[in-house]
């Protein structure tokens, strides 16, 4: 909602002198807010008034920010930092799916999960020829925005750079180089 900024004590930003790059404070506030959301449910009964707290920039925000107050629905997406959902699309499938890459330890687990999810078979992988034996080719977009074949790089490298997955129809996929 419009006023979350104000509640987080940032309305005095304009008059405040600070060192540091612009935007860093917000990030820090956000992180600390997450910490307070996840861990600190400790209520403080004898808080000083909020007005006073707003001015106390020096005290750690985790103490002065009360979880869930004021009672407005906030965007919860930011709180789920421990889960990394990856969009998976398949050519011809009606809608996108999401998976949590952290749930898989290697390629065979991932590919099996994809096969189950979209009800198809992937085929045999070989370094030279890519995937054979099915009409589909699993690809992914890496951090640089390039589309790569799933399986070409070691698993750890893949899982840390994969941004999204696309299971392409063989007819659409470029020939293996």
């Amino acid at each position: 909602m419009a006023y979350e900024e104000i509640i987080n004590g940032l309305n005095l930003k304009d008059t405040e002198l600070r060192l540091g790059l612009p935007g860093t404070e917000e990030e820090e506030q956000q992180q600390l807010q997450e910490v307070s959301c996840v861990r600190s449910n400790k209520r403080q009964f004898h808080e000083t008034t909020d007005e006073h707290n707003l001015k106390e920039e020096s005290s750690p925000p985790a103490k002065t920010q009360i979880v869930g107050w004021p009672p407005v629905r906030s965007n919860r997406k930011n709180n789920n930092k421990n889960v990394s959902y990856m969009k998976v699309s398949m050519d011809g499938a009606p809608y996108l799916r999401k998976i949590d890459l952290k749930m898989y330890k290697n390629y065979s687990e991932l590919l099996k999960a994809l096969e189950n999810m979209f009800k198809f078979t992937i085929g045999e992988y070989s370094e030279r020829e890519g995937y054979k034996g099915s009409g589909f080719v699993p690809t992914y977009e890496d951090k640089d925005g390039d589309w790569m074949l799933v399986g070409d790089v070691p698993w750890d490298m893949f899982s840390s750079s994969c941004q999204k997955l696309r299971i392409m129809k063989r007819s659409e996929a470029p020939p293996a180089s």
Partner: protein, 613 residues
């Protein structure tokens, strides 16, 4: 008994108020009917003189009609019974009435998805066309509970897919809904007409696209305050290409750009469209174009209410006021997501007809809304949040209470208000209690915790006391500011119709909660946080908990042993203890208590952080 106001029929009512018009104790959804015709009926219904045709032997030999004919007659009569509480009463008359009522109930309301299992629903009611289902407790909205607590729609949709192929309407609140669930819904119910998702999450625009595309008879698609993942799908283009049956389309909560051209086309081929709520990716200019094409709208969410960033400055500015003036039927207005205040006067032409005005997403001050309120004589529902109340010039004085005063003077028909502010006075609240006798919902959130009346320095007891005393129709109350036990004494004494009560950072002792539990016979939903209420208070409510939908108490002073006692004494109450470090089992302190009655025992899908006592 139907409410005459047209507003009652809109989804806004569902969103804004949790009051369900249920005036009687809820029905016992036992799958076996009461075996004796008279005893249970007499216990539960006040009308003891009702003559009941029982199937257990009080009939004489000279009885003119066989059972099945009487049941047929009953079926034809009960068909017309709409009210939920009337149906609940009818079902308790006797076995035969129970059976026929179950056959003729087409709209089912389930206030807590964990009060019963989906199987119980489909076993009892065979011809359901419409389901209203509510899940998580409201305080979950404010991060007071870890995610993945439950309230999954999946078991419900899969059970209903088999049992109710003729299902037409699903209205969910605070449920976890996945794209798979929406896909199943779109495939399983060929006559599907209305999908309403309020405060839901777990799905994205891909699921919505499926519903838009496959539900060819769709009349209502309302996404209200839900979290919708952006799957980068042009879902607006997924509606069928021919004339649609759409009457209501709400997507103000969808945080993704939409294809405006497709939207314009959709609105153009939806002759029955009456309600349209746009998201913040629709600019003022685009709104203008839509309004010109759809002057028949009754309910409008304005979208951003600001310029496109790349707006053509050279063109003469559209006459926004004229566009609003042409919308003679608008009674409900919301949106203003990125409000440009200089354009606010454009809505003046519709003020006189407005029954509902939601400014809660707008960065707005009382100075801005006062002139508008002044013209809204018919207003029944008003939501606003006043951000900045700290005036630089003390001589002007703070304005929040003046804003409240203005509303109470301008809108004598006000029924429901949600007002966020930094500070308040008893005088302004008392004035509202006197000027607005029709109030059923009063939610005042003074954002500064424990804030007293800023003029007198006294607690806000008298203000809220006046509300419960003077607003005789009050069914929902949310309190804030500095409150002593006295405020709760007032609530217990005068709040006889209160069904929903929200308390935060209030009260001095157990007596406060005791006043409420002993004094408010209609209390159904009680949510309390950060207040000094403990075991003594909890025990005072034992006579009430089976007649309530739920009780939430977080960061209070409850002990685990007391909660265990309650759980032991009340077998049909599910007592959940949530959160706090679970490796520390010795700790007797309860961070969060959430308890509710259930016919099917504790749920089997509870996550690790929930302990069911």
């Amino acid at each position: 008994k139907a409410n005459q106001s047209p507003l009652y029929m809109t989804q806004d009512r569902t969103e804004m108020s949790e009051d369900d018009d249920d005036q009687s104790p809820p029905s016992d959804l036992r799958s076996e009917p009461p075996c004796s015709s008279s005893s249970s009926a007499v216990d539960s219904t006040p009308n003891k003189s009702r003559n009941c045709i029982s199937s257990s032997g009080t009939m004489t030999a000279s009885q003119p009609f066989p059972d099945h004919v009487l049941e047929n007659v009953l079926e034809n009569v009960l068909q017309f019974l709409d009210s939920r509480c009337d149906r609940n009463s009818a079902s308790l008359v006797c076995k035969s009435w129970w059976k026929v009522e179950a056959l003729t109930r087409s709209e089912v309301f389930i206030g807590n998805c964990y009060a019963l299992s989906p199987a119980r629903l489909t076993q009892r009611f065979k011809r359901v066309r419409s389901l209203v289902l509510k899940g998580k407790p409201r305080f979950a909205d404010f991060n007071l509970m870890p995610p993945d607590w439950g309230a999954n729609f999946a078991p419900w949709v899969s059970t209903m897919a088999k049992a109710y192929p003729w299902l037409e309407k699903v209205d969910l609140k605070r449920m976890f809904v996945t794209d798979d669930d929406l896909a199943l819904l779109a495939e399983s119910f060929p006559g599907f007409k209305e999908l309403i998702l309020v405060c839901c999450e777990g799905f994205g625009t891909s699921g919505i696209a499926l519903v838009a595309n496959k539900c060819r008879k769709l009349k209502v698609l309302d996404l209200i305050e839900s979290e919708v993942t952006d799957d980068e799908i042009d879902w607006i283009s997924c509606f069928p290409e021919d004339v649609t049956s759409l009457e209501s389309l709400a997507f103000d909560c969808v945080e993704a750009p939409i294809n405006f051209k497709a939207l314009e086309g959709l609105v153009g081929r939806s002759p029955f469209l009456r309600k349209l709520r746009l998201n913040r990716f629709v600019s003022l200019e685009e709104l203008h174009r839509l309004l010109l094409g759809a002057p028949q709208l009754t309910c409008l969410g304005t979208g951003s209410f600001s310029h496109d960033n790349g707006a053509h400055q050279s063109e003469p500015e559209p006459d926004y006021a004229a566009a609003f003036r042409a919308c003679k039927s608008v009674v409900c207005l919301s949106g203003f997501r990125e409000l440009m205040p200089e354009y606010l006067p454009a809505i003046f032409p519709v003020c006189a007809n407005l029954t509902s005005l939601n400014f809660s997403y707008a960065n707005i001050s009382p100075d801005m809304f006062k002139p508008i309120i002044h013209n809204c004589h018919k207003l029944q529902v008003f939501w606003v949040c006043i951000l900045l109340d700290l005036c630089l010039h003390d001589s002007e004085g703070p304005v929040s209470e003046l804003g409240l005063q203005a509303i109470s003077e301008g809108c004598r028909n006000l029924e429901s208000i949600l007002y966020f502010c930094q500070r308040m006075t008893n005088a302004a609240v008392i004035a509202m209690s006197e000027n607005c006798p029709e109030l059923t919902v009063f939610r005042l959130c003074i954002m500064g915790r424990h804030r007293p009346d800023h003029v007198t320095g006294k607690p806000m007891d008298e203000g809220f006391g006046a509300i419960v005393k003077n607003c005789k129709k009050l069914t929902r109350l949310a309190v804030s500011g500095l409150l002593t036990d006295q405020a709760f004494r007032y609530m217990g004494e005068y709040g006889k119709l209160i069904r929903t009560l929200s308390v935060a950072f209030a009260g001095d002792s157990d007596m406060a909660l005791r006043h409420v539990l002993e004094g408010c016979p209609r209390l159904q939903k009680l949510e309390i946080r950060d207040s000094p209420f403990g075991d003594v208070a909890l025990r005072c409510g034992m006579h009430r908990y089976y007649n309530m939908r739920f009780v939430w108490m977080s960061a209070c002073s409850l002990s685990k042993s007391c909660c265990k006692d309650v759980a032991r004494a009340m077998q049909n109450l599910v007592v959940e203890v949530i959160g706090s470090d679970d490796d520390d089992d010795n700790r007797d302190y309860v961070e969060t208590l959430y308890m509710y009655r259930s016919l099917d025992g504790p749920r089997k899908d509870a996550p690790k952080f929930v302990t069911i006592l």
